[in-house]
Symmetry: C2
Subunit: 142 residues, 2 copies
């Protein structure tokens, strides 16, 4: 399990030029079990709901919402992925447009970390139940 007590030490380079903005990729092709002719697709609806939720925020966004083609998680779509310089990357599944606000809030928590590791108990339920996989940041140069 992705156990917070085993959180790896931060591997973020101590480089002030590192981009503080994180990316939330959303598969806009995802059907999430719907008929192929469904339009707009559930993934596209989730993407649109995220953009609208972000527009309602007061603060400048630290989360870049980006449409993606396929995150290879078709069996558990809709899918989204969080990534950022020096951070662990995460892929989430079982998402719907109804979860847009919660997803955006979780992305904001992620952006507020240096290494992408939000404490387990503070993560939104959709992250705890819907995590598909995660990838460590690249090792720091020796």
């Amino acid at each position: 399990m992705d156990d917070p007590t085993q959180a790896a030490p931060s591997q973020r380079p101590g480089d002030a030029s590192v981009d503080p903005t994180v990316t939330l990729h959303v598969c806009v092709n995802c059907l999430a079990g719907a008929d192929r002719d469904t339009s707009p697709r559930p993934g596209a609806r989730l993407h649109q709901a995220l953009l609208e939720a972000q527009q309602q925020q007061d603060q400048p966004p630290r989360v870049r919402i980006v449409a993606a083609e396929c995150l290879s998680n078709c069996n558990r779509g809709c899918s989204a992925a969080l990534s950022g310089a020096g951070r662990w990357s995460y892929v989430y599944g079982d998402l719907t447009e109804a979860a847009a606000a919660e997803l955006l809030a979780g992305a904001g928590q992620y952006a507020a970390t240096d290494d992408g590791l939000v404490p387990w108990r503070e993560r939104p339920t959709i992250f705890r139940k819907g995590v598909i996989a995660r990838i460590p940041p690249p090792p720091q140069p020796a």
Copy 2:
């Protein structure tokens, strides 16, 4: 599906300083269904088999094999992830130490690309059948 005909355009910055070495993270804690007391664990055995396979190569390695704690893919372990600067990242599951040579060869194909997108037909079977998820590279600065 991760359809090669829909491959996104390369998003790699045209920066010669980008690290050409890719990283293959391997979860060394993975039990892959084995008893918790199993030692060494299947994930650790896979990691060791990869190191040994790499030692038998003639050419300087372009794949950095790195032990990781958990890739949050416990239901389909053993797990490994490929990542590299400017490239799509991939998480693979259902791996065993018997697949070490094939996994390392696939990682070499990945390293030889600019964007991480190896044509579908050229991918090892373990990659085609065992892909868990993938994450696009960060968008290029505007």
